[in-house]
């Protein structure tokens, strides 16, 4: 006895409906929560309770929501950087390392110090931002160069560089600039703090305790910038062409090696800026674990946003919520598991974009 129905994949002959990519992304998120809930239940947890707590911990108050936006800020920047690279089919998984090196470069401005600390605030912060961008870009240059010249798989090199970046930072925070032997540098001078909404609390009491800082503006500006690059510029066209068919791009006279290096540097620069924003806006010093896996979450954000710069923003906020809630609930790996499941489902659901999936009756002949 054979099952009378089977699933049939037909390649799409017409264009994909506009709403479908959004629907698959949303579907992936919902299903990921359901699957994670089941896992949670299987190991003896109570998924309803956890999820309810999840929601109140993240969206329950203005303060909590501001925390989410703070967490979303690096994710926006990194997600944008990943989007650009992925658009060209360069799988930069090294945002984590580029983030750390960006934070390191920016911190050097005040730790060395590169300019006198009684300089105006805008100058110090601008220089720090530029240094963060420079550090990330340089750290993106390495795998970009290796890929362009030696055709070395960038996934593995960027991952290895992540480990190296963390050891590098450790050396400086334990060795050179340790604050009384702790694994962190002393707190930066106030001149190197990004303005926060809480700074306005004197005039607008509503903002008291709101930790949201200027970094989020970096993210929004970067989103517009990346959108313009990808959708309206010559460079964006070249990136899209290389991403879809490098041979065709080469045939069209586009310098692929140069673009691989440049895109890796842009991608790294955004992660580096995220690192700067985090040390100047949140922790106010260089220390261990400044990133809660932002580099990896950024990869997932980019995929879930389907590499659309504006979609990166709401997705990053969702992930910010996951991280904020994840800090406080047990088991601690839950938000990581949900993120992993989301990415996995987003990728699997691409099948709906490439094929029409139908359930059909198996043929009479086959049953005979």
């Amino acid at each position: 006895m054979k099952f009378p129905y089977k699933i049939k994949f037909e390649s799409r002959t017409n264009d994909v409906p506009k709403w479908l990519p959004l629907a698959t992304s949303l579907g992936a998120v919902v299903v990921a929560f359901i699957i994670s809930g089941i896992v949670l239940w299987l190991i003896g947890g109570n998924p309803f309770q956890v999820y309810r707590y999840f929601f109140t911990a993240s969206f329950g108050s203005w303060g909590a929501f501001s925390d989410i936006l703070v967490k979303a800020t690096p994710l926006i920047l990194i997600g944008l950087g990943c989007s650009v690279a992925f658009k060209m089919n360069i799988l930069n998984i090294g945002a984590e390392g580029q983030f750390y090196i960006g934070a390191f470069f920016a911190s050097m401005v005040v730790l060395v110090p590169i300019i006198p600390l009684d300089s105006p605030k805008w100058l110090v912060l601008t220089l720090m931002a530029l240094m963060g961008i420079l550090g990330g870009a340089l750290y993106g240059f390495i795998p970009g160069f290796l890929k362009a010249v030696f055709n070395v798989n960038e996934i593995i090199t960027t991952l290895m560089l992540n480990y190296i970046a963390i050891f590098w930072n450790n050396y400086w925070i334990f060795g050179k600039y340790s604050d009384a032997g702790f694994q962190m540098t002393p707190t930066f001078d106030k001149v190197a703090w990004l303005p926060r909404l809480a700074d306005l609390a004197k005039d607008y009491p509503f903002f008291s305790g709101i930790t949201l800082h200027l970094g989020v503006v970096f993210g929004l500006v970067a989103a517009v910038l990346i959108w313009v690059i990808l959708k309206r510029s010559r460079w964006g066209y070249e990136i899209a062409l290389i991403g879809d068919n490098p041979k065709a791009a080469n045939y069209a006279g586009i310098n692929i090696k140069k673009n691989i290096i440049l895109v890796m540097m842009l991608s790294g620069a955004l992660a580096g800026l995220a690192g700067m924003s985090e040390v100047t806006g949140v922790v106010h010093r260089l220390q261990e674990r400044i990133s809660t896996n932002y580099g990896f979450s950024g990869v997932i954000v980019a995929w879930l946003a389907k590499l659309n710069p504006f979609a990166v923003i709401p997705v990053a906020i969702l992930f910010g919520a996951l991280i904020v809630a994840g800090r406080e609930i047990q088991p601690s790996g839950l938000s990581f598991m949900i993120q992993g499941t989301i990415l996995f489902l987003v990728i699997s659901s691409d099948v709906f974009l490439r094929y029409k999936v139908r359930i059909v009756r198996t043929h009479q002949e086959e049953m005979a």
């Binding site: 066209y237 045939y251 006279g253 002949e365």
Partner: protein, 511 residues
């Protein structure tokens, strides 16, 4: 021809075969029969459904409806394994051989012997014996990538014979061979039927069919337009009508034209292939304005590398000049700026970006130029208008210019490429296999476009494996063998036999 009696039993009977792919009816109630000891030719244009029908017979596809009988017994194949067990062996047009395995390993692939450990030496001997029986010589210990195309084809045939095939399907076996190799293949086919095998011979060349086939079936758009007729006495025009469904003009009008200034100068050009082995050796030639220079040769003799070298896609030794400007070892962009148009061999792999829109594919060469780009940005409105205009002029069949390139048929994709390359009035056109795999109507259109450009004064380098096409379009023809140009002649004085011998390296005209 063996002139089989009318009552020879059938080896294969296929009745009312229907197979449907998304959007197409690939086989529409097709009937096909094959007698024992017969060579039955199957003809049709690309996309007519020949390969689909044969893939049904070899178990690759399951038909929606219809019946198949082998030696009178009804069968239903779920997979190639079932077909092989019923004595059907298919020699695919694109060889189904694993390049890194030896001849013997390829022949043994998929069998239940040896049990676990490969005793290759024993099997090498077995295969040697089989070769002697059918006169198919090839070294069993050689790796496939070391063999010539003709030898690889022999391995394919041996593979089916080793499995005890009684019914052989040869899918366009002559397409990849030189004229002399074709003669050898026909000899092999005659040997095979004389030993009791039956053969289905897929082709689209009437002379080949008349030389070996007993009967003939023609498919057009998934339907049979002739079923098992006698090929003798059929004229080329009649056959073309059966295949295409209308009268076909075989000669595209070509006007006499005096060539002008030299456009392309290639001097002592050498280059290597992707493995780093020499692929083009010391080639020199010139092409003038308004001239088509054709290069004939069997696939894999350095044609692809030559084209890439000339178009700036591959590093070279020697020199390539377009209108006096050196472009060798520069960027492809420099060649493009010098007025190069390149119609690549691989339409989907190189010529287009499959997931980008028609617009984005059409602006591939001029995206950085006015009016599409001014400075850093791209004016997508201008790009859209440009694409819409070319779509109209070159009759690219697609819903809109926003349609993704991969949704286009082969013919429309080639029109897109031609539209892009030719619309800029190029000085030099390098066209490789511009009509391969297209149907007759599209072929005519593309040949006419090339001649038009010749008339307008473009220099054209045409590389093709279709000798007829080369003879018809070119002003001069050269033959490439093992990376060298082994002979050059005016197309009007070309001798098919001589070219054939040059293609296999048996003859060279310049000592």
């Amino acid at each position: 021809m063996t002139n089989l009696p009318e009552n020879t039993p059938y080896a294969v009977e296929m009745q009312d075969i229907v197979i449907r792919f998304p959007g197409v009816l690939a086989n529409d109630h097709v009937n096909f029969t094959l007698r024992k000891g017969e060579i039955h030719a199957l003809l049709g244009e690309n996309g007519a459904g020949k390969s689909t029908l044969m893939n049904v017979l070899s178990g690759m596809y399951q038909p929606e409806s219809g019946t198949i009988r082998i030696n009178g017994e009804p069968v239903s194949f779920r997979s190639p394994k079932g077909a092989i067990a019923s004595g059907i062996g298919m020699v695919h047009q694109h060889f189904m051989l694993v390049p890194t395995l030896t001849v013997t390993e390829n022949i043994l692939l998929g069998l239940n012997e040896p049990k676990f450990i490969m005793k290759l030496a024993t099997y090498d001997k077995k295969i040697q014996k089989l070769q002697e029986t059918f006169g198919l010589k090839v070294d069993p210990t050689a790796k496939i990538w070391q063999l010539s195309v003709g030898e690889q084809q022999r391995v394919e045939i041996l593979k089916t014979l080793y499995r005890g095939a009684e019914i052989l399907i040869l899918d366009e076996p002559t397409a990849v061979l030189a004229p002399q190799e074709i003669d050898e293949l026909m000899e092999t086919m005659r040997t095979l039927v004389s030993q009791g095998k039956s053969i289905i011979f897929i082709s689209h060349k009437l002379n080949e069919v008349q030389a070996v086939a007993d009967r003939l079936t023609v498919l057009r758009k998934g339907k049979a337009t002739a079923e098992g007729i006698d090929p003798q006495g059929l004229t080329r025009t009649q056959l073309a009508e059966l295949m295409v469904g209308r009268k076909v003009i075989f000669q595209v009008e070509k006007v006499e034209r005096e060539p002008g200034e030299v456009v392309l100068e290639v001097e002592n050009l050498s280059t290597t292939n992707n493995r780093g082995l020499p692929a083009v050796r010391n080639v020199s030639f010139q092409i003038q304005e308004g001239e088509i220079f054709g290069i004939a040769g069997i696939a894999g003799n350095g044609q692809s590398e030559l084209v890439e070298a000339v178009t700036g896609l591959r590093p070279i030794e020697g020199s390539v000049r377009i209108n006096g400007t050196e472009v060798g070892n520069c960027s492809p962009q420099k060649s493009i700026r010098c007025g190069l148009a390149h119609i690549p061999e691989d339409r989907t792999g190189m010529g287009t970006a499959p997931n980008l829109s028609i617009t984005k594919n059409i602006i591939m060469k001029n995206y950085a130029q006015d009016p599409i780009s001014n400075g850093w940005r791209i004016d997508y409105l201008a790009a859209h208008d440009h694409a819409a205009e070319l779509k109209e002029v070159y009759d690219i069949q697609a819903p809109t210019v926003e349609t993704m390139a991969r949704k286009l048929s082969g013919g429309n994709l080639q029109k897109l490429i031609l539209a892009r390359e030719i619309s800029g009035d190029p000085k030099l056109i390098v066209a490789m296999q511009p009509t391969r795999g297209l149907d007759v109507g599209a072929i005519e259109g593309i040949q006419r476009l090339l001649l038009e450009q010749r008339q307008k004064g473009a220099a054209i380098l045409l590389i093709s494996e279709e000798l007829e096409e080369l003879l018809m379009l070119s002003d001069r023809i050269a033959v490439i063998f093992d990376g060298e140009l082994v002979g050059e002649m005016a197309a009007s004085q070309a001798d098919l036999n001589q070219i054939g011998m040059m293609m296999t390296g048996a003859l060279r005209s310049d000592g």
